[in-house]
Symmetry: C2
Amino acid sequence: MIRSQSLSLQIPSQEWKAPSANPVLSPATPVLPSTFLPVQVPYDVPEFQRVSISGDYCAGVTVDDYEQAAKSLVKALLIREKYSRLAYHRFPRTTSQYLCSMQDEKWKVEDEVYPDFHSPPEENEDPYNLDDAPDNLDYVIKIKGGIPFVYDNKEMMELNEPRSLPYPDLETYTLDLSHVLALIADGPTKTYCHRRLNFLESKFSLHEMLNEMSEFKELKSNPHRDFYNVRKVDTHIHAAACMNQKHLLRFIKHTYQTEPDRIVAEKKGKKMTLKQVFESLHMDPYDLTVDSLDVHAGRQTFHRFDKFNSKYNPVGASELRDLYLKTENYIGGEYFARMVKEVARELEESKYQYTEPRLSIYGRSPDEWLNLAKWFIKHKVYSPNMRWIIQVPRIYDIFRSKNILPSFGKMLENIFVPLFEATINPKDHKELHLFLKYVTGFDSVDDESKHSGHMFSDKSLNPDLWTSEKNPPYSYYLYYMYVNIMLLNNLRRPMSGQVTQGVMTLNSEIMTVRADFGIRLSKSPVLQYLYYLAQIPIAMSPLSNNSLFLEYSKNPLREFLHKGLHVSLSTDDPMQFHYTKEALMEEYAIAAQVWKLSTCDLCEIARNSVLQSGLSDKEKQKFLGVNYCKEGPEGNDIRKTNVAQIRMAFRYETLCNELSFLSDAMRTEEISTLSK
Amino acid sequence: MIRSQSLSLQIPSQEWKAPSANPVLSPATPVLPSTFLPVQVPYDVPEFQRVSISGDYCAGVTVDDYEQAAKSLVKALLIREKYSRLAYHRFPRTTSQYLCSMQDEKWKVEDEVYPDFHSPPEENEDPYNLDDAPDNLDYVIKIKGGIPFVYDNKEMMELNEPRSLPYPDLETYTLDLSHVLALIADGPTKTYCHRRLNFLESKFSLHEMLNEMSEFKELKSNPHRDFYNVRKVDTHIHAAACMNQKHLLRFIKHTYQTEPDRIVAEKKGKKMTLKQVFESLHMDPYDLTVDSLDVHAGRQTFHRFDKFNSKYNPVGASELRDLYLKTENYIGGEYFARMVKEVARELEESKYQYTEPRLSIYGRSPDEWLNLAKWFIKHKVYSPNMRWIIQVPRIYDIFRSKNILPSFGKMLENIFVPLFEATINPKDHKELHLFLKYVTGFDSVDDESKHSGHMFSDKSLNPDLWTSEKNPPYSYYLYYMYVNIMLLNNLRRPMSGQVTQGVMTLNSEIMTVRADFGIRLSKSPVLQYLYYLAQIPIAMSPLSNNSLFLEYSKNPLREFLHKGLHVSLSTDDPMQFHYTKEALMEEYAIAAQVWKLSTCDLCEIARNSVLQSGLSDKEKQKFLGVNYCKEGPEGNDIRKTNVAQIRMAFRYETLCNELSFLSDAMRTEEISTLSK
């Protein structure tokens, strides 16, 4: 009977104290012992029917297994919190409060770390103003063995005395990684997580049955705001595919009609007009159709990631991809910029839709960043409705085999040295400094089902010595990207008297930040439960998955949403996967139709997408409410989000309930050994 | 072995002769007896892999059952053909050719009957020109017992000598009806049809596997035409719901902002401004949202047809429905007309989308038609991208119980007498004559799952005597609507020296014309197979069904399409079921995504929708090709439809194959008894 106490609804108040042991009372069950008193709910929320369970809550798991699982999960959460904190990434406040309490520490709002993205310029400000770069710090940067070191000056570098920054410790990292990997495979933990996840799903079903009408009632009486005018961010979309196939086709035809005689390419030293390019391909743009363009994912692409990539070549011709979908070409990426801007204008008109398109940095040469920044400024690509993510394809092996790169270390240098220099000495790198204000994150892209033979450990060769033609494994890529971004953010975060230059996030697995797609999650209950507890953002693209991997109705989005994972909807690739002009709305509409999602579900997903995005604090306050950093109903402004407070309370109380279970298990033993 | 001969690919040539008995040879199976010689295919089609089966084709059914089933099916087809012909409705040429051959008659193209819809005005013509009405015929019309009689003049009426027209014979009709009903329930026929339908589905799967790439190759090399610029008709959509919820909301807000002080309603003799209307509802339009509007189908509408209908009241207020969604109100239906015209402008801009919105005629009073015509002309609602369907709700019982109508006969009079008068004496009814040019059909609407206690037969009371408060059954409604439309079309069809006034179709079950939704079809193999053989148009709305009856992925659309039924996609009700501005594209996109339809599938559906629609012969020639009346590849112009010729050949040869089976069974006996 003692176990029943952990059914307690322990809701952290603003002044966080140790969780109370007063369990919530289900009004319909008045025969419980007198210790079951209703908890004082510290927030206003309309009446709704709460689901609570009494009796032994770890039924099906032995007490030993339960305690072992809880201990390991808490350790994993502490690891996640540590790495989030170091890199200025967001970690949920509620989970953090519970972790503090378990360690008998006092949680303080001042200690909280969150990503501090750059605020976009005001309407009367020039988004391309190169003159507001802060003063140079004149530090010196050197990447050694893949790890960046920052020195006050050249002398200190020669003395090998770097500035005091949280340099990483590869041994600790690999130890932490091995803990997480062992946890994922641990039988009892799997069972425990599996049961908790099933419970979460069933609990939501009950909640939905009981409160659906009350939630909708809240929304109906919420003035002015509905699903159409809540903000939505397309959290995963490739810039080179952000226009749909019809848009691309129309643009190609338009350029051909208006400027056939413009010189647009150079082949073997010979300049070619647009007309000549099409002649050389034996093509008349008038005849071109979306079928002959052949950039849309057909049924042939299912399970064929290789074909998927070749779909980026219009009419199968890499010439057209180079001309229309690249930032670097004879016309300085003008066509591509024009199309991206057309997409941006549509978003600005729609007013409520934002997007985070991805541009590629390959690490082939140190000039890539500057070229990208120049493209951005020259063609005035800025839009208030867009923030930029940099995707780094994991194709070192290809560059190495073509002898473009001598080592993996050189690739890292090409990717990160320009960023450090623009951050340290912005006055010397005004263009890149400016562009980076609008860059909010990194993504590492490739087919994740590909396996590498190598197992990453502290014995692995360091990047400078990684000169073989073999591609390093995913975890290796991620570690070195994480380390560089972590240090970079420590330099970019607001320093005394300075405004933030805008931090960047890294999208990837449990150790770092955001997961995209999340398909692999459905196979690992432990990882999935950790994603739940740490509320790790997951950007899902069921239409894209539908074409590539997984039938639409089998996509786990609905299941994840029900369990309370932090999911958002994204298009990934409107050129290949969408039919209408409003790709993101198409994505939401299909999800709503196929899974019969309620308006509240849709608005919850939209709210998640804003939280997950790289929009600035100011924008998030405007779109979600001034208290958006708080969790639960307090952090929600229904007038802006159209998410029912009942839903918010359910999510919040459910998360607290799950965390209390871990907390109860930990009380019996000291966990000081687990803390950093 | 003798049965194998009916595998013959009997393709009717232009000069139709008795089907040849030369079966087609699959090139990959050269060991067949020498009688298997390749047939001369009379049309050009790219090489593709044909599926043919040798051996006994009625395996699983005894020869007796097969012959009995074939006989009954042929009889049902002859019935269908007879009623189509009488009412100037379309019957497929191929099926007709086979039926002729079975009766040893010679099929002649001149004998073919097809609906002769009115051609829309040219661009320089005035669509509202009231002065081109043809001369009055000065006939006299009288509906007696639900049957219209046309007399040369009053004297002939008094002599009771009507003009020679194909007046119906209730006894024959009920006999035919009972044949069809018995057939649907007949065990051996069910088995036979079930097996044929399964065969059709598997055959398509094979075809798809073998020829998918060849079909797509045809489309890729088809210049200028793709899925986006083939014509599509929304074949089933309610005018009062043709704008989506966001559009309606925006329109309401706009009127409130621009004309709050306009008098828009009269309540108990008191005139009310728009502002007062909203005040009386305690509503500020600024606060209005799609949630509070509450016109979208939620999860609560599933299996609740009653709720579905109440969704037409914005904010649950019938005042707003009357003001914004009706043609008859204080402002003469101006708001409704303006919204419909906004939808029309979007269609015209999109250029390739057409729609057939439904307006209601209730039969409460004889003025309804004139009011509708006046509304149409006053607000200039004509659009080249719209044709109008009249829906007649089957709610006699409601009107009778409120004593608005004395009998069912009076309701029929209210609905049809104005039509006959405008047709016979157009100069006296210029407004209605003009409006009718753009009306292309009727639909009878209600919840078809409702059952009536009465069984229609020639013993049923005639409409003038049907004075009880009970609603007549569906078949009773349909018979009298059919009879009236049949006679009407006989008057409206081009007579010597006269241009057609445009015929009208009736959407309903097997005996008459078009089936909408088709959900009930999936439960009746016999009906389904007859729909296949007679290529009866089926307009399906999976998104609407998804909200009302049937989960999306379980909708039979994909299965029907594969089997070769004549399906089109329609939105039914964008206000309730769609999210984006492009409702029809949303419908196509979701079908494409959920069922992974190919471009060829989508274009086949689009082509079907044009064929099914009330667009004129001239438009169909322009959108489908000049030979669209021919069937098979000959009738298809890929440059206009983007449907692969391989697909057309497959469909055509498959239909011929199915019809040959029936034909073979009939050869053994005389069928002269079956013919009319």
